[in-house]
């Protein structure tokens, strides 16, 4: 976090233009406003003082104004970040729910036909670039078949009040008579982009789950279970899956960073009103305050997800907890 803030602080010096304007986004400021800003950011003190002033502003949630829209960056982030969180979580769930079971199947049928097919298909899935897959999905499912919508988070017909920003929760909180239709409409909107994002991480989960399962199936306690006379499927259900899952969960956090990157590109293709699209637009508009605000928000988000998955891993795996106590 420290490094991150240091990096984003130095960005305001590296971007072309006046550092004070880069950091505050006040492009139309009068000389009085500028001198006030200079005082706030302690521009005349040494660099360390300036950094402290900057971090102080960060802790108060002040990220300056967007150079393009002149809106506070923090409100823009709050309005765009939840849509990305929603999309990423749904994509992650889809990736896990498809990838992990398939990986287990591959491990169970290790070196057999099913294993080979799954491995080669997942290799293909992993190598398809996400922007191409997104366009292909729109072409097939939206244009040719007309099953799923191609753009946006929900049909504009539905008015959903922005409460948490997470569309599904907002819909459930709203008291509109069209609540359930709105819910269905939102699910049909999220399905296609989420599947597109989920494909590459899902193939990673296939490999992770397969390796984890193979390790577990090799272990002593499985042999013990076999010796106790459990049937093969009983053994898989009661012992193997649970223990293999623990290993997979450990890597979810790592995959999440990858997934968010994919989500950024996908948001542009599916016109998803998330932070990725906003950030890419800001980059093309040279909106420096937005770029560094968005960068901070996204990295903090990924950081938080890492911590959460670590906690879940620790909760699930007694070994990890004991290790920590021991060391």
């Amino acid at each position: 976090m420290f490094l991150l803030s240091l990096l984003s602080f130095s960005l305001s010096f590296l971007f072309p233009g006046d550092q004070l304007i880069n950091i505050s986004g006040q492009i139309n400021a009068t000389p009085e406003q500028l001198s006030l800003l200079a005082e706030q950011y302690r521009s005349h003190s040494n660099i360390f003082q300036q950094y402290l002033a900057y971090v102080d502003k960060l802790f108060h949630g002040e990220l300056g104004l967007s150079m393009a829209s002149q809106q506070p960056i923090s409100t823009e982030i709050i309005s765009f970040l939840p849509a990305t969180i929603e999309l990423s979580i749904v994509a992650l769930l889809i990736a896990m729910m498809t990838g992990i079971p398939i990986g287990f199947i591959a491990a169970i049928y290790h070196r057999k036909m099913a294993d080979n097919i799954i491995l080669s298909v997942s290799m293909i899935g992993y190598s398809i670039p996400v922007f191409w897959l997104g366009l292909l999905a729109i072409l097939i499912f939206s244009i040719q078949l007309g099953w799923l919508p191609s753009a946006g988070q929900i049909s504009l017909l539905f008015e959903v009040e922005h409460i948490t920003g997470i569309q599904f929760i907002d819909i459930l909180l709203s008291d509109s008579p069209y609540k359930w239709q709105a819910f269905q409409n939102a699910s049909s909107h999220i399905f296609l982009p989420a599947c597109v994002i989920a494909l590459a991480p899902a193939t990673i989960f296939v490999r992770l789950a397969r390796t984890a399962m193979m390790d577990v199936l090799d272990s002593q306690y499985i042999r013990a279970a076999k010796a106790k006379g459990l049937s093969f499927w009983q053994m898989i259900y009661h012992h193997a899956i649970r223990n293999a899952m623990v290993h997979v969960i450990r890597d979810v956090g790592l995959q999440f960073a990858n997934l968010v990157t994919l989500a950024m590109v996908t948001e542009v293709i599916f016109s998803w009103p998330g932070i990725g699209r906003w950030l890419i637009e800001s980059i093309s508009q040279r909106d420096y305050t937005a770029i560094h605000g968005g960068l901070l928000a996204l990295s903090s988000f990924i950081f938080v997800v890492h911590i959460i998955t670590d906690f879940i891993y620790a909760a699930l795996n007694p070994l990890a907890r004991e290790n920590k106590h021991g060391s």
Partner: protein
């Protein structure tokens, strides 16, 4: 056991997801009820303002004029004649220097979250709306920049002497001189009526700028929500004075990308889209309809009538006979235009149906050239700019086609296309060219807008008349046509003026381009008119 719980939860979620998917297609009469009476229009851009007085961009006009506002008078019908709107009748004095408008009673302004009107529309609102434009001292004149481009271009402030309130429902416009195009200007999409009461309320709160961003009008729809660059949501105006709309919601989904709009149309996310591409694809779907309307513009080939050889009318006539307009329409416009038989498009009320199409006749052209003393032909230059215009998508290709046409009668055409737009117009106004490919988009529906700026003697003096053609008889007719307000009288004058153009050929009208729109066949009602913005007031869904 925690992971089992998690798995159960996630599989539950998956089930929910899957269960909801097929449901969106078939299920739910309620869904129908919401989308049945709502229209989503995918527009090509975001409006700059919600007050059409302050802009000229078509995108803003589309989003505001006909949806949010009304005008005193408006254009109606096939021929776009002037019809009553907020003024239920009007009276023009014999000398054309005074117009009295008798206003409609019980016309309500929008009631919204930000404003609740306490009175109906009256003369004060008319005075407010126009004095804001006319008077530099008006407290609202300089709000939003003080620019009223349309009104400046038609010299509104130099024509209008004063606007008087006779009583609450009678307003009189006094003019410095008679100008029969003034009615067309007042009926144009720009001359909307704002609420004075709302302006006064804003002034009290010191929020004057909101008059153009949070609009209040008398139109069939009111603004409910605008998310800049994303969408505009309109609700019907319950107390609309005219026929109420059957729609429950009107949404402008702002989609600047051409392919994005097409995708949304094909995927059923938009009911209507602006400026569609891939016309063949749209036509091939039974559920979609492609419509076109001929715009109020003209592309022409103009001759510099002051310079030889085009000071000779026979040479001009010969060239006119040798140009294959049909081939130009097919190649340059790909069929997205009508052949221009005269300067005026067929949708103008002054259009003369009796004008015969210009024949394509090489033989007669050669004879005319011989008569004119050019049996061997000659070399001429033809100026064109490689900039896409509304009336001409590709002037260079058009120039090449004309080059090939004229080669057949022995005229060698040198295409001059190396100039940038600024120099090009500058040199044209000095008359450096021999012939030029140009065009004209009308500012309003009055036919005069095609004659005076393009071919009058005064325009020849200022250099705006690129043909430098000055015909006293022609000038006389178009002047007379402006001095009277009797439509049939005006039409006879314009018929005579058109006949002079046809005989003298100072320019060859080539094409009137079209504006396109695509919609789902469930959407019915008129949307486009040849001039001005889109209009959703008569649209319904079934």
């Amino acid at each position: 056991m925690m992971c089992f719980h998690k798995k159960r939860l996630t599989s539950l979620f998956l089930l929910c997801c899957l269960a909801s998917l097929p449901a969106c297609d078939g299920d739910g009469e309620n869904k129908q009820s919401l989308s049945k009476n709502s229209i989503i229009y995918c527009s090509e851009g975001a409006p700059e303002s919600f007050n059409p007085q302050t802009v000229t961009s078509g995108t803003t006009i589309d989003a505001t004029s006909n949806q949010l506002y009304n005008r005193l008078i408006s254009f109606k019908g096939e021929q776009n004649t002037i019809a009553p709107s907020l003024a239920k009748s009007s009276h023009v004095t014999r000398d054309g220097k005074m117009i009295t408008f008798y206003l409609r009673k019980n016309v309500a302004f929008h009631q919204t979250d930000y404003f609740t009107p306490t009175r109906f529309f009256n003369a004060d609102d008319v005075l407010f709306s126009f004095n804001r434009i006319l008077s530099i001292d008006h407290p609202y004149h300089h709000i939003s920049g003080g620019k009223y481009p349309f009104f400046q271009s038609v010299n509104f402030s130099s024509v209008v002497e004063s606007i008087e309130k006779i009583n609450d429902y009678t307003v009189r416009f006094k003019f410095k001189y008679a100008d029969s195009s003034i009615l067309s200007n007042l009926a144009s999409d720009f001359a909307v009526i704002l609420s004075k009461e709302y302006a006064d309320n804003l002034a009290l709160k010191n929020q004057q700028h909101k008059i153009d961003t949070s609009p209040i009008g008398t139109g069939p729809f009111k603004l409910k929500e605008y998310r800049p660059g994303a969408f505009i949501r309109y609700a019907p105006h319950e107390n609309y004075w005219d026929k109420n709309t059957s729609l429950e919601q009107l949404i402008f989904d702002i989609t600047p990308s051409n392919t994005g709009r097409l995708t949304k149309l094909l995927a059923g996310e938009c009911d209507v889209i602006a400026f569609p591409i891939a016309h063949q694809k749209i036509k091939s779907k039974a559920a979609l309809k492609l419509e076109a309307v001929t715009s109020f513009n003209v592309a022409y080939l103009g001759f510099n009538t002051q310079k030889p050889p085009f000071n000779n009318v026979k040479v001009r006539q010969a060239v006119a006979l040798a140009v294959n307009k049909k081939a130009i329409i097919d190649t340059v416009y790909r069929g997205k235009a009508d052949i221009a038989h005269s300067l005026l498009p067929a949708t103008s009320w002054a259009y003369n149906k009796n004008i015969l199409p210009q024949p394509f006749d090489i033989k007669r052209a050669e004879d005319l050239l011989k008569d004119a003393g050019f049996p061997q032909g000659f070399t001429m230059n033809l100026w064109a700019v490689p900039v896409q215009r509304a009336y001409n998508p590709d002037a260079i290709t058009m120039a090449k086609l004309i080059q090939a046409n004229l080669k057949k009668i022995g005229i060698k055409v040198v295409i001059e296309n190396s100039l940038d737009m600024g120099t090009f117009l500058e040199l044209l106004s000095r008359g450096e060219h021999q012939s030029v490919l140009l065009g004209w988009s009308a500012d309003h529906l009055d036919p005069d807008n095609f004659f005076t700026p393009l071919l009058s003697c005064s325009a020849a003096l200022s250099g705006n008349n690129r043909t430098f053609w000055c015909n006293d008889e022609f000038d006389d007719f178009i002047q007379k046509a402006l001095k009277t307000t009797n439509i049939s009288q005006r039409k006879t004058f314009y018929d005579k003026a058109l006949a002079i153009i046809a005989a003298e050929v100072p320019l060859i009208p080539i094409a009137h381009s079209k504006r396109f729109q695509a919609r789902h066949s469930s959407v019915s009602g008129k949307l486009l008119s040849p001039f001005g913005g889109i209009d959703f007031s008569e649209v319904s869904k079934n």
